[in-house]
């Protein structure tokens, strides 16, 4: 029980205040422990951050593969967009950490996380390339288009609030419209 509670508290605090600004004592106090007890569950603070990041990215990869399915490129793109938004709106803290705390990772750990993120980007690029081959997309540079679309979609986490005027589904619909036009032939 304690392990997951520590991860959850660390996730919340890292997202809220940043990795460097959060102390092990703050995390421990959130869970009702002394700082020393945390070291039964993580070798050190850095490993805790890395584990949160890789856990999130591996989950993202597994779920996106399941959501995308097979079929024509446009259908796969729509599935990707809707999945990406739904997933990101559901896990704002994980997302925030995964691309905000990269600079607090030691070089080895950074490379590890970066490889996972690259695999996710490659999934989208493959869809764009397939659509271009099918003749339904007009994408002069699939790499740049991939990064542009992902940046646009991920940006939703910076302003979306569940109590706002738009539901998550409505937001996904608006973004899908924009992405569709962006890559349209």
């Amino acid at each position: 029980m304690t392990g997951p509670r520590i991860r959850q508290a660390a996730l919340r605090l890292f997202a809220r205040h940043g990795y460097a600004a959060v102390s092990m004592r703050q995390i421990a106090s959130e869970v009702g422990l002394q700082a020393g007890a945390l070291y039964n569950y993580t070798p050190d603070k850095q490993a805790l951050l890395l584990s949160l990041m890789t856990g999130h990215l591996e989950d993202l990869l597994a779920r996106s593969a399941r959501a995308e399915g097979t079929g024509p490129a446009e259908a796969r793109l729509e599935a990707f967009v809707r999945f990406h938004i739904a997933y990101h709106l559901d896990r704002p803290d994980e997302v925030f950490i995964a691309y905000m705390e990269l600079r607090n990772l030691e070089p080895d750990h950074f490379a590890q996380v970066e490889a996972l993120r690259r695999r996710y980007e490659d999934r989208l690029e493959a869809i764009l390339a397939a659509g271009r081959d099918e003749g339904v997309f007009d994408v002069p540079d699939t790499k740049i288009a991939t990064l542009a679309v992902i940046a646009m979609l991920t940006g939703v986490t910076t302003w979306y609030r569940p109590a706002g005027r738009l539901s998550a589904d409505a937001v996904a619909g608006l973004y899908w419209d924009m992405v569709r036009k962006t890559v349209a032939a």
Copy 2:
């Protein structure tokens, strides 16, 4: 002379390692000073960060107003996109800090910075609304489109490297193509 050198060192270090992870002693050592000397140029660390952020955002606002000019909405949008990318690729550290260190600002300072950013977003939203009124843009929700376009454009700073295969102008051209299609009627 010393004042600007301190700001420049702080900018570089904050962007590289994050505000919370950088100590006043590190900044001072970068400039060849003792930590105490910094307090001749800033009342405290927080004010140094705030000054870097507001300085950048005010510069961004002033220059974007100059770049945008007057004319039909589509021309103003193209000017906005090309300006935004050129400016952001020229000042990666400032940009990085301005939307990465928001959570390290005290509430009053946060509101101050957020107001400046909002004014910049409003400039783009006004262009999109004008284009919709002219009938040349199809934008069902100007607020969401504004945020989506800015996120897409700003994302360029996460991957662009001056020595890469694309020049800044080429990148701006690709992004303008995508933005044009995104809002096209």
